[in-house]
């Protein structure tokens, strides 16, 4: 039996072993030792290979310079076939492994129904409770389930590369509407400026549309500016609402996908015994009865 409250107490006092164990416990579905509460996080998303992990590595260096602490939850997809995952984000965060002020944890998505990673919110709360000042979630932004992962962050940064192809992908996944800040990384390569210009002109110009920054994780260009912007950035209510909406929908989906009667209903629809609207009615009634 895991004593979560005890682990939390030890983790609060700076015990990394206990913190690591507590995160595993939460990842495996354990109940959070904290009441639902505070814990602000920064979500960094974008297509694979644009330099999210490298950029986080540079942000870590800058936060360390400022005397701040950083915890990173780096999420990568699990293979739907083998269930395994290759978690290679931390190798790009060069100075993450030697400082007491940095904690990096790699997480696989583990193919939860509906793409919901219920563990993220309690993990963020625990990290915050243990005094980690900057809490970053890295997630691949392509496809619906990843959009859902980043909806659990309070501020969303969309990272893109200098190639137009990546940007189109980001537009498709709907993730662009969630961004509070857009960063075109690899500014040391040609076309980065052009990409930034084209994305600026694609965004409708009102006060709420996100600013577009250029950065290079190789030369360090633009990193200080991003840190400064993050200090003052606030997500407008409309985007916050969109994220809450996304969280609710993904929680709903996961309840549906985990419901015992789902398979039975599907075959009954298949056999023509009931209609889709009848099935929905049955799920609703079932939820009502199981609550009382």
């Amino acid at each position: 039996m895991v004593d979560a409250a005890n682990l939390l107490e030890e983790a609060r006092q700076g015990n990394r072993r206990s913190l690591a164990k507590l995160l595993t416990y939460l990842e495996e579905g354990g109940k959070s030792p904290l009441e639902y509460g505070r814990g602000k996080s920064l979500g960094i998303t974008g297509p694979p290979g644009v330099g999210k992990s490298s950029l986080i590595g540079k942000l870590i260096d800058e936060w360390l310079n400022l005397g701040e602490t950083v915890a990173v939850l780096a999420v990568d997809p699990s293979s739907p076939i083998s269930g395994g995952a290759l978690l290679g984000d931390r190798m790009r965060m060069v100075n993450a492994d030697s400082s007491d002020s940095v904690f990096v944890r790699s997480l696989a998505t583990r193919n939860h129904p509906g793409g919901l990673m219920n563990c993220l919110t309690p993990m963020i709360e625990v990290l915050s409770e243990c005094g980690w000042e900057n809490i970053v979630i890295e997630t691949v932004g392509s496809g619906q389930s990843e959009t859902r992962v980043v909806a659990f962050a309070d501020i969303v940064v969309l990272v893109d590369g200098p190639d137009r192809g990546d940007i189109i992908q980001a537009e498709k996944s709907g993730i662009i509407e969630m961004a509070d800040l857009i960063v075109i990384n690899k500014s040391d390569l040609k076309n980065a400026q052009k990409a930034a210009d084209s994305i600026r002109s694609a965004l409708s110009f009102n006060e709420e549309s996100p600013k577009v920054f250029l950065s290079s994780a190789h030369t360090g260009e633009g990193i200080k500016e991003i840190i400064n912007e993050l200090k003052i950035l606030q997500s407008p209510l409309i985007r916050n609402r969109m994220r809450v909406r996304e969280r609710l929908i993904s929680a709903w989906d996961s309840v549906l996908l985990e419901s015992e009667s789902l398979e039975i209903l599907i075959s009954e629809i298949e056999d023509g015994k009931i209609s889709i609207s009848e099935a929905i009615e049955m799920i609703r009634n079932h939820n009502k009865t199981s609550k009382s």
Partner: protein
């Protein structure tokens, strides 16, 4: 299992480590790859923070006789006795006995196949389930002999 694959020291040969990382992933494991040039201290911290069940060390540079025992000592000091440690790369037969004595449970040289390595991990899981010693700090003298 959660497995850290690490390259200790200044060794720049990373092909083998990457091949192994992918093979273990395809075998259903969550594999954390550290990248090149990690110190024993960094490797132990990664194993701790990632709460890994196992650590695979890849060395082809000839420094295995110093670096691997160092990792072994640090893991024990940090109380990570349950972590299963195995290794691969260029490690001469004459050096292996000493590493096994330090708690390394398997060594895979050039030409090792993926299925051999997955077989080893299967035995590791079996031993864990049966509470038989298999971690770095759980003395027993057991090692994998293929």
């Amino acid at each position: 299992m959660r497995i850290v694959i690490a390259k200790p020291g200044l060794d720049g040969h990373d092909r083998g480590a990457k091949v192994i990382a992918r093979a273990l992933r395809d075998g259903g494991n969550e594999v954390i790859y550290t990248g090149l040039r990690r110190t024993p201290e960094e490797i132990v911290r990664i194993v701790n923070d990632e709460d890994a069940d196992a650590l695979g060390l890849s060395t082809l540079s000839g420094a295995h006789d110093v670096l691997i025992p160092k990792v072994s000592t640090l893991l024990r000091q940090e109380g990570l006795n349950h972590v299963v440690v195995f290794a691969g790369g260029i490690i001469p037969m004459d050096d292996r006995e000493d590493l096994y004595n330090k708690g390394i449970r398997a060594i895979f040289g050039p030409g090792s196949t993926t299925s051999e390595i997955l077989d080893f991990l299967e035995v590791v899981v079996e031993r864990k389930v049966r509470n038989k010693p298999v971690g770095i700090g759980e003395e027993s003298g057991w090692c994998w002999d293929g």
